[in-house]
Assembly symmetry: D2
Homo-oligomer: 373 residues x 4
C-alpha cells in the first residue's frame, strides 16, 4: 500500500484538536502503517473551522459533512461531534464505504448503538473498517496491564476497584451547560466517565460484564442558567457493582464533584496471584505486585506496548500520545483489512452496561442482568 | 483521684497483647489521667495465661472471669475475647459495677447489641463508664481529619470513598479457620473490616448512615479443613453504597482477597470546599486538599490530637499507640464520670449498618433503610 | 509578520526527531507565533536523512549543511548534532544571518563556548536571534517553580538538593560507545546530565553559581569494544557542591549507574519560607510546601506556564511537549526581535560551572572559584 | 539466666523517656532475653527525676550517678545525658563492671572516643558488655536492607545517596539554644544528624568510610539569645562526599534548615544488580528494585527482622519501637557474654568520619584520608 489515505475529521474543538494532532503525527512515529493526508476538517462555523484547519495542518475545511462523505479523496472519516450526532454521521459514512473512527461513546442510547453495530457489520463485509475511540486502551501502561493479565501473571482475576473522579462541578454555583441536560448529553458522569471505566474493565480482563447494581445521584439539582436557575437533569456522580461472566466483581465510582481530582481514573485489579494498579494522572506508571511488593514500573521501555514508536526509556508520554497510537492501530487494520478493536460491538457492550446501571438505580439498586443481545 | 485503678483484661492473645501494652504504658505518656494497676489477666488456659501475665506486666492471672468481676481491687474490665462472648461478660461486668472497655465489634448480632446498650445505659445511671474499642479513632491523623471536617474546612461533605483491603485469604488453599464459620465469627470481611470502615464514616462525618445497598461474596466457597474440604459460610469480600442523614453517599469495599494489601484501610472524604485522604499503612500521614493541591501532612506536630503525649515532630507513631491513647481517653472519662465515645450505642449503630448491608445483599442489592431504633 | 519562516534542522536521530516534532506541531498549539515551514532536514547519510525527512514532515532533505545555510528560504537553523560540531555550524549559521537554536550543551569546551558567545553577541546586533536548547525550562512544573521562587513564595533560597540519575551503564558488560570516549563526548555524566542540573539551579533561583567543589568517578574503567577491552575516558558519575552569588548552596549528583532510575532528574529547593520538589519522571507534578505540608500540584491548569496551549486540566503532557513550547518561545523572540532565554551566554555559564567541577575533582575536591569572564 | 537484671538510666528528658519506654516493654515483646527490673532513674533535679521515675515505671530515682554505679542491684547503666558527659560516666560505669548502653554520639571528640574505646576493650576482657545507641539499626526496614545487601541481592554497591533533613531552625528568629554553641554541643547538624547517616552507610554496606570531602555552613550566623544577639558557633547544614574501602562513593547532606522536612532521613543504595531506598518518615517501608521496578515492601512480615516480636503483617511500628528492639539485642548479648553491635569502636569510626568532614571543610573541601587508628 503506497498511496496515502485521505482523512476527514468532523469536529474541531477539544476532540477535533486531539484527533487532528494524531493524524498530523502518526506518520512520524509509526512508519509502517499507511501514510495519510489531512484532507479536510469539517465543522459548522465556516470561519472557525477554517482557522482551525489551517492551524491543525489540514489541506481544506468544509461545513457540510454529507458532501465530504462523497469525496473520492476521503477514505477515512473520523467523527468527533457530540454524541447525539454520532449515529447519523457514522451510518452515512459507512454507507459511503468510508472507514470510520468514532469517538466514544458509541451513541447516546442502546437502541441507536444496536442499529449502528448492524450497519458496521454489514459494511465490514465490504471491507470497511470501523472502530470506537476508547483512547485509553492505547495508554502503554494499560495495554501492558492487559498483556500481563492475559498472560496469567496475576492469576485469575477476582475483583476490580475502579473510579474516575473529576472536580469541575464541585462549585454549586458553576453555571449550567449542555452537558448537564439529559436531552443533549444523554447522561452525566456515568456516560462521560463511566464509559471509560466500563470499557477498561472489559478490556483489561478480557471478560464481559453481565450484571449491574447501581446508584446515580445529583448533588446539585439546579444551577444558574441563562434565564435563572435551571434543573440539572443528569447525574453528577454514580456508583455501581458489576459482575462478570467469569465471576469477577468490579466496583465503579465516577464523579464530577470529587474535590482535587483532575483526571482521576484509577484502576486496581486483584487476582489470585497478583495485583495491578494504575492512575491516569501518572499515566506512564503501572504498579505490579506478584508477591514482592507493589513494583512501580515506568512503562517506557522499548518492549512495552507502543513505546518503541516514541522515545528512549524514562522519556514520558502524555495524554495526547494515546490518540496517535490509536490512529496507528486503525491504519494498520485498514492496511490489512481486518477489524480493529474496540469495534462498534464493544462500544455497544459498554452502553448496555451503562444502561443497566441506570435501570438498577431507578429500581433502588436491584441487580439487573445484562442480556447480550 | 489519687488511688490507682485496678484493671482486668479478659483475653491474652492478639488483642490481649495490644490492650496489655496500652495499660502498661498509658501512665508514662498520659500523666494527667488516673494511674492504673495491671491487676489481673484472664484466660482459659492456666499455663498460657500465667506466662502471658508475667511477660505483659500483670500482677496475677486467672482463669475464671466471673470470679474476677467480683474482686474489689478490679475497677475496670477490658474484654478482648471473640465476639460471641462479648455480651455475656460485658453484662456481668456492668452489673457488678465495673467500668467496661469492650473490643469491637460490640457483639455478633444486632439483637445482642441492643440488649447490651440497654444494660450500659442503666449502668451509666450509676456512674459506670462503658466504651467500645474502635481504636482507629485514636489514630492522630484520623482524629485530626475529624476535627478539620467538624470545623468546616472541607465544606459540606458529599461523598466518601472507603475500603479496607487485606490479602490473607488470597490463596485458595489457605486452611479453614473459625473465622470462616458463620456460627462462630458471625460475619466475614464485612464484620471484621467493614465495622471499622462504617465507624469511621460516622465518626469522621459526625453523621449517621441511614440506608444501605450491598453485596457479599465468597470467592473461595470451601477450604481444606481438619476432615477434608469444608464450606466457608461467611463473605470474603463485600461492597456497599451507603446514604447518610445529611445526604452524603459513601462507597465501601472490604476484602480479605486483595493481593498485596496488608492492612489497607483507605478513606477519602470529598466536600464542597476540600477533600481529605488517609491510608492506614501510612498512619502518620493525612492528605488535605483545600484548593492548593493535596498536601501531605505529617500528623506529628504537638497541636495534632494525641501527639503531644508522645514524641517530637517527625518521630512517627505505630499501630499500637492507638490503644494506649484509647486507654487514656477511657481513664479520663472514668475520672470525671462522663461517658466516653464511642459508647455502646455507637457500636450498635455500626452493627445496624452491617446488618442492613447483609439484608440488601440477600435481596439482590435492593436499598434497605436503617431505622434508628 | 505574516510570512512563514523556513526552518532547517541539522541532525535526524534522537534530537532531530524531537526537534522535528516541535516544528511540526508548534503552529497547532501556539497560533500567535510566526508560522513555520519545515524546509529541510540535514544529515550525512543521504538515504537515511531522506527517509527521516519524509516521515517527520520535511519538504526536503540535504547532506551538506554549509549549502543549506546559504538558502534564502531558510531563516532558522536548529542544530541537533553531537557537541563537537556545535561551534562550527552555529558560527557559520550566525554569520549567514540565520537565527540559531542550538541543542545543549553549547559546545564541548569553555573556550569554544566563549568564542561562540562572542559570535552570537555580534549577530544579535544585526537582529539575529540565538538560543540554547535547555528544554527542561519549558516543563510547565519547572517554569511554575521558577515563577513561585521569583515571586518570593518560598522566601530566600538557602539550599538546593539536585540529582540526575540514570541506569543505562549499570551493567559492567555494556559495550563501549562514543559517549564514553573523552575526545568525542567531551564529558560523561557530568556534561550530559550535569549540564541540565546546573542550568536548572541557575534558572530556578535566578542566581549564578560562583564556586564549585566536585568529584568525578568512573566505576567501570573499561568496557568491551570492537577490538577487545577499551578504556572508558569519561566519568560515569559525578558529585558537586556549588555556591551561588547570593549565598545558596546546591548539592548535585549525576550518574549513569543508578540502578532503577530511568530519567531521574530531581530538584528540591529549600527557602526560608517554603520548599519545592520536582521529579522529571512525574513531570506534570510539583510539590510545593509553604507551611501546610507538601502539596502535590498537578501543573495542568490554564494559568500554569505553557498549559493553556495544550489540553484541559488533568490531561497530562509528556517529555516531547517541552520542545514544542521551546520552539514557540524561540519564534516569539524572532517575531519581536528580542533575544530569548537561555541565550548562548547562559549556555556558557553552565559550561564554566561544569569546568570548575572538573578542575576541583582534579585537585582532590578543593573549591574552585568561577570568574565570570 | 533466671534472675532479673537491674537497670539504671541516666537522663530523663527526651532520650530518657525513650529508653525508659524500651526497658518497660522489652520483656513483653522479647520473652527470650533476660528479664529486667527498672531499678533507678538518675537525674540532676530531684523533684523532676522523681516525677519522671514514677511515670516511666522506675522503682526509684536518684540524683548522684556515681553512687548508683556502686549499687549491687544495678547491672546495666544506660546513659542518656548530653554528649559532653558521656565519657566520664561511661568510663566510671565500665570500671565498676556495669554493662553500658550509651546514646550516640559516642562522645563529642575523637580523642575522648578513643580513650573510651580502650576502656571498653579492657572491660570486655572481664565480660562487660558495651554498645552505642544508633537506634536506627533496629528499624526493621533498615535491618532488612542490610540483610539484602549482605546477601548480594543488589550486587556490588557503587554509590549511596543519603540525607537527613529537618526544619526546626528554618526561622532565622528561632532563639539560641545550647545545641548551637560549639562548646556544649560539639557540633551542629553534622554531629546530630550526620552521625546517624554515617553509621547507616557503614552498617548497610558492611564497609568502612576511608576518605571524606566536606563543607559545613551556617546560614543564620546569630540568633536571639537571653542577652541579645548571640553567635551560632556550629553548622546548621553540611555536605560531604565519602569514599569507602571497597570503592563505593556516598553523598551526604544534612540540614536543620530544610523547610518541610520533619525527620527526613533518606537513604538510597545503588548496586550493580539492584537498588534500595528508604525514608524514615515512612519507616515501615523499603523500596527494593532488582530489575522489575521499585517494589514498595511493607516490612511487617514475620520473617523480617524484629517484626515477629510485635504485631501481624500490616500493623505498622513507630519510631520508639527501635529502642525496645535495641534493648533486646543488648540484653541478648549480656545473656551470652558477647559484644553487641554497634560497639564503641563503631561509634568511634563514625566520629572519625565526622572529624574528617570538618577538617576537609576547614581546608576548602580538600579530600581527607581517614587513618583507622
Amino acid at each position: 500500500m503506497t498511496d496515502r489515505l485521505g482523512v476527514a475529521v468532523v469536529g474541531y474543538s477539544f476532540m477535533g484538536k486531539a484527533h487532528s494532532n494524531a493524524w498530523r503525527n502518526v506518520g512520524a512515529f509509526y512508519p509502517d502503517v499507511p501514510g495519510v493526508t489531512q484532507q479536510v476538517l469539517v465543522g459548522r462555523d465556516h470561519a472557525q473551522v477554517d482557522d482551525a484547519a489551517r492551524r491543525f495542518g489540514w489541506e481544506e475545511s468544509a461545513t457540510d459533512w454529507s458532501e465530504v462523505l462523497q469525496r473520492d479523496d476521503v477514505h477515512i472519516v473520523d467523527i468527533c461531534t457530540p454524541g447525539h450526532l454520532h449515529a447519523e454521521i457514522a451510518e452515512a459514512a459507512l454507507s459511503a464505504g468510508k472507514h470510520v473512527l468514532l469517538e466514544k461513546p458509541l451513541t447516546n442510547t442502546v437502541a441507536e448503538s444496536e442499529r449502528l453495530v448492524a450497519c458496521a457489520t454489514e459494511a465490514a463485509g465490504a471491507g470497511v473498517v470501523s472502530m470506537v475511540g476508547f483512547n485509553y486502551r492505547r495508554v502503554p501502561a494499560l495495554a501492558h496491564a492487559r498483556d500481563l493479565i492475559a498472560d496469567g501473571r496475576i492469576g485469575e482475576v477476582r475483583s476490580v476497584r475502579a473510579a474516575y473522579l473529576q472536580d469541575w462541578l464541585v462549585d454549586a454555583d458553576a453555571p449550567m451547560t449542555w452537558r448537564l441536560r439529559k436531552e443533549q448529553a444523554g447522561s452525566g458522569a456515568l456516560g462521560d466517565l463511566g464509559s471509560h471505566v466500563v470499557d477498561q474493565v472489559q478490556f483489561l480482563l478480557g471478560d464481559e460484564v453481565t450484571s449491574a447494581s447501581g446508584r446515580l445521584h445529583t448533588f446539585v439539582p439546579s444551577r444558574p442558567g441563562a434565564d435563572g436557575s435551571e434543573p440539572v437533569t443528569v447525574d453528577d456522580a454514580a456508583w455501581a457493582t458489576l459482575g462478570t461472566r467469569r465471576g469477577a466483581v468490579a466496583s465503579v465510582e465516577v464523579s464530577r464533584m470529587a474535590f482535587g481530582r483532575k483526571n482521576g481514573l484509577t484502576l486496581e485489579v486483584y487476582g489470585s496471584q497478583g495485583s495491578i494498579s494504575f492512575g491516569l494522572e501518572r499515566l506512564n506508571e503501572l504498579v505490579v505486585d506478584t508477591g514482592s511488593g507493589g513494583a512501580r514500573v515506568l512503562v517506557t521501555e522499548p518492549d512495552h506496548p507502543y513505546v518503541e514508536a516514541w522515545w528512549p526509556p524514562g522519556h514520558v508520554l502524555g495524554w495526547d500520545h494515546t490518540f496517535t497510537s490509536q490512529a496507528a492501530d486503525f491504519l494498520a487494520a485498514v492496511a490489512v483489512g481486518t477489524q480493529p478493536s474496540p469495534g462498534f460491538a464493544e462500544g455497544l457492550a459498554v452502553q448496555r452496561v451503562l444502561g443497566a446501571i441506570e435501570d438498577s438505580s431507578a429500581r433502588d439498586g436491584l441487580r439487573v442482568e445484562i442480556t447480550a443481545h
